[in-house]
């Protein structure tokens, strides 16, 4: 196993290597690095940085940096997960509507939690979480599946093979399930923020249809364990 410093060396010297010719290309030169927007990262004194962070800092001093996208800002209210979710909720590029729905959802969550807080007896008041951001993150985390299924065709028959998922894929699946659930399984007259806040609160407590869907997927993967050796990657 190479030492951590050696791993950092590899990362730095890496030229852009197209493994497969990318269909998606970027207007930026491959040597451009992602911007770091939070002010806390820049206020850390030099001694507290680990080896890796020091190397990362040295690299950033030499390489050009991409421009920060319009959804990202250093304010406390900008959260990359919330932006991602808003973009997934957006239809036909109507970001204004998606963002307002998101803020109404967070407001609805806050209201419901506050109601519960004020009705609860003294000893239970600490257990009730009122921060809508914390609830959002925890709910999505609870919805993330650990293992996924992939269709592999062998000898004419298609099998559902259990397959590990990357972090990005897990997050995407959780958000996708949440949005499809809220769009389809609701009464015609319920508004999206209301339904979303309901689902998020249920997911936060590990209940609700999305958690059920996740458990169903896990059970399917468990039952198809025998085919796991079909996976070659």
């Amino acid at each position: 196993m190479a030492a951590p410093s050696a791993a950092g060396l590899c990362r730095r010297l890496r030229a852009w290597l197209p493994r497969i010719m990318p269909v998606r290309w970027s207007r930026y030169n491959p040597s451009y690095l992602e911007p770091e927007v939070k002010t806390e990262a820049y206020q850390k004194p030099l001694e507290e940085l680990t080896e890796e962070e020091k190397e990362q800092m040295e690299l950033k001093a030499v390489r050009p940096i991409k421009a920060a996208p319009p959804t990202l800002s250093s304010s406390v209210f900008s959260d990359p997960m919330i932006s991602k979710f808003t973009n997934m909720m957006m239809k036909s590029g109507n970001k204004v509507l998606a963002r307002s729905l998101m803020s109404q959802t967070l407001e609805a969550i806050k209201r419901k939690q506050l109601e519960k807080y004020h009705k609860a007896p003294e000893n239970e008041k600490e257990t009730i979480e009122c921060n809508p951001y914390v609830i959002f993150h925890q709910a999505l985390k609870n919805c993330q599946p650990i293992i996924g299924l992939s269709s592999i065709t062998r000898g004419g028959k298609t099998y559902q093979v259990p397959v590990p998922l990357t972090d990005n894929r897990k997050r995407f699946l959780a958000m996708k399930w949440m949005i499809t659930e809220c769009r389809e399984n609701k009464h015609r007259r319920t508004m999206m923020p209301e339904k979303l806040s309901q689902e998020l609160l249920l997911a936060f407590n590990n209940e609700g249809p999305i958690i059920k869907k996740k458990h169903v997927l896990h059970k399917m993967a468990e039952s198809n364990r025998a085919y796991a050796h079909f996976r070659w990657w």
């Binding site: 050696a6 590899c10 010297l13 690299l59 940096i65 421009a67 920060a68 319009p70 250093s74």
Partner: protein, 380 residues
Amino acid sequence: MGGRSAAVMAAAVGRVLRLCRRWGAGPGAQTLRLICTTTAVQRKNAGASGPEKYTEAFIKKQIEEFNLGKRHLANMMGEDPETFTQEDIDRAIAYLFPSGLFDKQARPLMKHPTEVFPEQRKIQWGEDGRPFHFLFYTGKQSYYSLMHETYEKLLNVQKHQDELIAQDLPLQKEKRNLAGSRWLTKIELEEMLVEKMSDDDYSRFIRLLEKLVALPCADLEEKYIQKFSKEVPAQLQKVLIEPLQYDERGVAFSTGEGRRKTASATAVVYDNGTGKITVNGIDILHYFPVLQDREQLLFPFQFLGRIGKHDMVCTVSGGGRSAQAGAIRLASAKALRSFVTEKEVEFMRQAGLLTVDPRVKERKKPGQEGPRRKFTWKKR
């Protein structure tokens, strides 16, 4: 039929005899001068990228002609033939043969033949058809021989490491200055090997090099590694930060310009302010009703912690709502550079506030409905 084959045979024999004569003539010449091709050599082989287009004699003649022409040109222009550089040649040609053609490569050109004629490989096999290189039949002899060499170096370094461990000596861990160097690009590597390679091959080679560099005793093969790495100028272009200007009231101000998509903006940031921002004479609350745009405008100030301390007056035109916000953000970040220490300017750059966003609308392609969307596929 019989007569024709005999004639063909005679011709083939004749060609071979001619070749043999030529081969015997040259002192220890390994490469053949193929003026006429035999059926034997007309076989398609992946090693050479085609029959030799320019023979060595031809290139030598071109070089002599070029040097002679250079001296004539220098005489014509009244310059000293000894100290006539390539830039002088370009200027002289542009003066003597002025051309209005748009394509720069279509204009008259006088360059050294090595730059004009692409480097190509000599014939890789002997007179008997037997190739010189042992990896010729892989199709990519230079690439595979390079991989073999690099792997040999890797094994060497590992052996040296094992020896040091066996003797309980500490492994050398001198850090190379890696931030300032990069590997050769695929094109540069192709030029070096005079052989085409695929992207996969290139990435395999780079991974092997990285593996070699990652070992602690890699300094052993420093020279070999340096052949494939290039210096990257560590100092990015030092942008000149304009000093603060002062207006009639004695208040310090600074201007900045920014662009995003088709929008362009100019921002004037005043000191000792209350945080009032005006765009095209209108307050930002009325000009940008969307929260996201206002967030973008305040981003540079919030990042530096100077929210209530500056006033801003901007003008913006073109683009849409988000593009105008992005343009003003860039303009204000550029203006704020004059108010702030160098370290904070570096932090702003690393936060992506000072980079021009190069993303623009992608063009529509012919045969497609949009930049990516294809026309509806109909089976019949």
